[in-house]
Amino acid sequence: MTLTAPRPDSRIRDGRLDPEVIRRDFPILATESHGHPLVFLDSASTSQKPLAVIEAVDTYYREYNANVHRGIYEIGERSTAAYEAARSAVARFINAPDAHEVVFTRNATEAINLVAYAWGRKNINRGDAIVLTEMEHHANLVPWQLLAQERDGDLEFIPITDDGVLRQDVYDVLLRLKPKLVAFTHVSNTLGTINPVVEMTKMAHDAGALVLIDGAQAVPHVPVDVQAIGADFYAFSGHKMLGPTGSGALWARRELLEAMPPFMAGGDMIRDVHLRRSEWNDIPWKFEAGTPDIAAAIGLGVAADYLRELGMERVRDHEQELLTYALIELMREHPDLELYGRMDATIRCGVIPFNVPGVHPHDVAQVLDRSGVAVRAGHHCTMPLHERLELDATARASFNVYTTKADVDALVAGISEVKRIFG
């Protein structure tokens, strides 16, 4: 090991996260970019990975690489046990009542597509309404467009206020259409808005609709308890919550998963195969055709345990404090900066979309990059949201457990450099 991992308890001091200590768990944060220390402010795209996750993947390939659910030999049994232990870790992380309700997928996108395909094609018929929102990531929009086209269903959208909060009054009206499904994001990937998922789920259930929540931007940043939320489907990516790319999961209630036909077909998802018919495996394996990304799943389990040890309440506190600091610093140092979303850290995660007046966000990101600051520029896979806000594109800074005030300071200084060049 080239890095000395800090003592676990020192990551938490006086009940609060110490990001300076946590940073040392992330080898990439010790690297440089364009001759400057890397300031990674694009965690909403994908997070960095702690050494524990990197080593878990490495150990799997070095010591017990073997397919799961097949090998009657030592390392095959070990890989199967590790893969299923990872499923249990993920279930604990979201407080799922039963680990068999957790299906491993490549990412949130695949999890949502699974539901749109397997549940949607069976349950959505001509004229059935699906309620979505104007702030959805394309991953929770386009699969429903395809489904609605194929099944002749209707899509309805909960609008947002100008500062990026869902219009609950309009949602209430849309529910009178008796939709079959309401699908919405827990946390907006572009504005950071935290939606009132418990209330919205209850409203949907009262109207007779099932609820799918896109949790991709929530699981890394806020405590998620699927039982407390009460939703029917909860989809998320592993790679945004410190896990490897290629990892993600769908949680769904057992009876829903059992009633759904398979998504992909092939090996491992069957119990019995004849030439002209087959019987499906039990859940969750019914939905995991073919060799899965075993290493990524094992890494995701470790990431879930890492976050659980930090404590998601503490993670939330850290990011709320940092967001408040960042919004104040940005407004103070750059009063002309265009900031979007609600200026209220209590209902917002660490996501800051912005524009420097007169400068295209690509140029903003390019200048920031030269000082080692990585932000995203573009539409962040929310083109309808940008259209609603009448924006071509935005730059976006986003946080995670390892983000510090020094990172925010580097962003503030970088924006001064943007203005100097384009001033």
């Binding site: 295209h360 966000p361 690509h362 200048v367 520029a377 924006l391 594109a393």
Partner: protein, 129 residues
Amino acid sequence: MDDLYRDYILEHYRRPHNFGVLEDANVSQEGANPLCGDRITLQLRVHDGVIDAVGFTGRGCAISQASASLLTDEIKGKGVDAAAAMKSTDVLDLLGIEISPARMKCAMLSLETLQGALEPTVAAAEGRA
């Protein structure tokens, strides 16, 4: 930093040449990079196989705007065939800066729009239309 945002690039961005609506254009083409939000409308006045006037409107990043400014300067007075034969390397030469792969689409938007604009004209000349 100076290698990308050189003064002349920023100058073309702030005060692009040939920017504006060409009232008597007989060729008009729109181009966009929806992923970035760059848009351009390119207008040409073609007379006897020669581009004798050119204008463009739109918005985008410094690279896409500077490249449109430089390219429109370059094609003014050029024959349609010669303009249609221009390649991405010609645009990179005009820009004179190193363009990273991530910014290539920004740099090439005006050229792709030009090629789209001239395609019917060239096809007609070759008897393909």
